[in-house]
């Protein structure tokens, strides 16, 4: 009977393609909107994704997220280093600066100051130049997307100069980093340079990056650091979620995207569900005929569920493929807004669950009609 279910489903090509594309469109809507939401949330923690060396991030105890931090005195670094179980600890600066180009145009940029001697926190992927070039006077490394923002359509040219808070800076390298939440250029420099570029403040150190000694429980070490320094110490993985949770709890982004994802789900469900439901209803007479000829309800149930499974699987696959293609194409076209966004496996799973739910509900609704169908309907 699987053969019959398949043939009934695909017999009318137009209807069949209509159902499949209904499901595919629903999947696309859900997967794409959910992926953009996830991508935006990941962007809030971009620096944590890129700086992979430390196990623990230490920040002021009132720090709300990676961008909203109270600068600390550099003495704090030595306090942290003094905690038993800390293998190494280095300082890091992160802040917003004003970059003025030679033609007078200016823009905000994210400045990251990495430890002068160890270079911990440096970008992982260089496009041009090398990390060691940061030792040159006034050297900065800028990210590729930021460079394109500052010099749209121009070839990469190392040695270009600009002013950061009225101090000279020279581009010595181009790197690739995770897209930040704000689409600002990301500039890396040595910590000592960063303190010169940063606006004048008594304290400038944003974070202390800590590596735990081998075999030390990181969570216990965090608690120890907090106890002994009065600072906030968070494991890298937790710090990633710490930021995301802040944005989820304190901004309208999740609500807006939640609504969009929900709309995607509803529209997808309406299109896919209704098309599949109508397909079964239109075939009621045929199901009635099969019932009269001796097909049991359980076999009809299996046939409809198989049809739902086929439609759901094919539609879902097409929808996910379209969503992936969307991000690939926009990524390849250099679209900064969607840079670094992709369909995570978790979104694929959630979308599969949503699509499964849609076709299951649609098939259950139509199955009910088939199950209560009097076989005598064939004579009407």
């Amino acid at each position: 009977m699987r053969w019959l279910a398949w043939r009934m489903l695909t017999g009318d090509r137009t209807k069949y393609l209509g159902i499949v594309f209904g499901v595919a469109f629903g999947s696309l809507l859900i997967a794409q909107q959910a992926s953009i939401f996830v991508g935006l949330m990941r962007r809030t923690s971009h620096i944590i994704l890129d700086v992979t060396e430390p196990d623990i991030w230490v920040l002021d105890k009132y720090g709300q997220n990676v961008d909203e931090i109270q600068p600390m005195s550099e003495n704090r670094l030595y306090q942290v280093r003094g905690v038993a179980g800390v293998d190494w600890a280095v300082k890091m600066y992160k802040g917003l600066v004003r970059v003025k180009q030679r033609d007078g145009d200016f823009r905000q940029a994210i400045l990251i100051g990495i430890d002068d001697s160890t270079m911990i926190g440096a970008p992982q992927k260089m496009i041009q130049g090398s990390i060691s070039d940061l030792s040159r006077p006034d050297a900065i490394i800028i990210d590729l997307a930021g460079y394109s923002l500052m010099y749209p359509g121009e070839e990469i040219q190392l040695g270009r100069t600009m002013e950061i808070n009225d101090r000279r800076a020279v581009i010595v390298g181009i790197c690739e980093v995770s897209a930040p939440f704000q689409t600002f250029p990301v500039a890396f420099t040595k910590y000592s340079h960063a303190t010169q570029y940063a606006p004048r403040e008594r304290n400038v150190m944003s974070f202390v990056l800590v590596k735990a000694e081998a075999g030390i429980n990181q969570q216990e070490l965090c608690e120890k650091i907090e106890e002994q320094t009065g600072l906030q110490a968070i494991r890298s993985d937790d710090f990633f979620w710490f930021n995301i949770n802040y944005y989820i709890e304190n901004t309208g982004i999740p609500v807006n995207f939640g609504i969009t994802v929900m709309l995607g789900f509803i529209v997808g469900a309406a299109i896919a569900g209704q098309t599949f439901y109508l397909f079964t209803i239109e075939n009621l007479k045929q199901f009635g005929t099969l019932k009269a000829m001796g097909v049991t309800n359980i076999r009809l149930l299996r046939m409809i569920l198989l049809q739902a499974l086929i439609v759901g699987t094919i539609g879902y696959s097409i929808g996910i493929a379209m969503a992936c293609a969307f991000f690939e194409i926009t990524g390849a076209s250099g679209q900064a807004d969607l840079r670094g966004m992709y369909v995570p496996w978790q979104v694929m799973l959630i979308t599969a669950g949503a699509v499964g739910l849609i076709v299951l509900v649609a098939s259950l609704l139509s199955i009910h009609k088939v199950l209560v169908l009097e076989p005598a309907v064939v004579f009407k």
């Binding site: 043939r7 017999g11 045929q286 005929t289 000829m293 001796g294 004579f379």
Partner: protein
């Protein structure tokens, strides 16, 4: 072909080898507060090896009667015995299996599956019965030959004329060799010539001594084909008429008047 009819003033006719036996059969339908009595005490017997026509005006209960006989509806009261089985004892899966094995259906609108080609449509009852797809198609092709559609085996049903589609439906009803064939207005959607051919075909089918064919029809052009014509009116059998035909030459020619 000469046809002679024998009118019998009886509302019931007893037959020796009854395939279907109904006694005081009633069927009521509820529509809100209203109760519609579709059958009001039907007594009828239908013999093996005969083609029986159920005739009468719309709403007289003939479709309800064949629905009950075919196991598609349950009676409200009365006794029904079909192919030796008491209908009341046939319930649930047993009833479904009984229909699957013993009954072939022919519908007014053919009810063929448009997604399938001719041979696939005909093979459905066998596939439902658990026969493999390839074996079912082979058997279906043989039956299609019997209804002179061997050249349309792979055609889509939408490519066939009404008469051809009804022949496919008859082949589908025959393919699993059922003992009871139930046909609902098989000629209603056809022109006179096609209707005639279909009734000829059904009469040939009914010659099998282990089979009974019941045809519900309005079409008085085909009344002559029935061995027995049961006239219904207002939920009861009003008249039973027999047409006797000789069986020794295939059952399609000589008819003898009986009173």
């Amino acid at each position: 072909m000469s046809v002679e009819l024998a009118k019998i003033d009886s509302k019931q006719i007893a037959v020796n080898n009854a395939a279907v036996r109904c006694q005081k059969l009633t069927k009521e339908f509820r529509a809100g507060e209203t109760i519609v009595r579709a059958l009001r005490g039907v007594d009828v017997e239908i013999a093996y090896g005969e083609m029986t026509l159920l005739v009468g005006p719309s709403g007289c209960g003939k479709t309800t009667l064949i629905s009950i006989i075919a196991g598609l509806l349950d009676p409200t009261d009365g006794e029904v015995e079909v192919l030796g089985e008491n209908r009341r004892e046939l319930t649930g899966t047993r009833l479904v299996k009984f229909r699957q094995k013993n009954i072939g259906f022919v519908f007014q609108q053919y009810n063929l599956l448009p997604a399938l080609d001719v041979v696939e449509n005909v093979s459905i009852p066998l596939i439902i019965g658990g026969v493999s797809q390839s074996d079912a198609k082979m058997r279906a092709a043989e039956v299609l030959k019997k209804v002179s559609l061997e050249d349309k085996i792979n055609a889509r049903v939408s490519q066939l004329s009404g008469g051809q589609q009804q022949r496919v439906a008859i082949a589908r009803a025959l393919v699993h060799d059922p003992r009871l064939m139930v046909c609902d207005e098989p000629t209603a959607a056809l022109d006179a010539a096609s209707g005639h051919n279909i009734m000829e075909l059904l009469r040939e089918v009914s010659i099998d001594q282990d089979r009974v064919v019941i045809v519900v029809t309005h079409d008085n052009r085909v009344f002559d084909f029935g061995d027995r014509v049961i006239e219904m009116a207002d939920g009861v059998v009003e008249n039973v008429t027999t047409n006797q035909r000789s069986r020794n030459n295939g059952g399609s020619n000589t008819k003898v008047k009986q009173t």
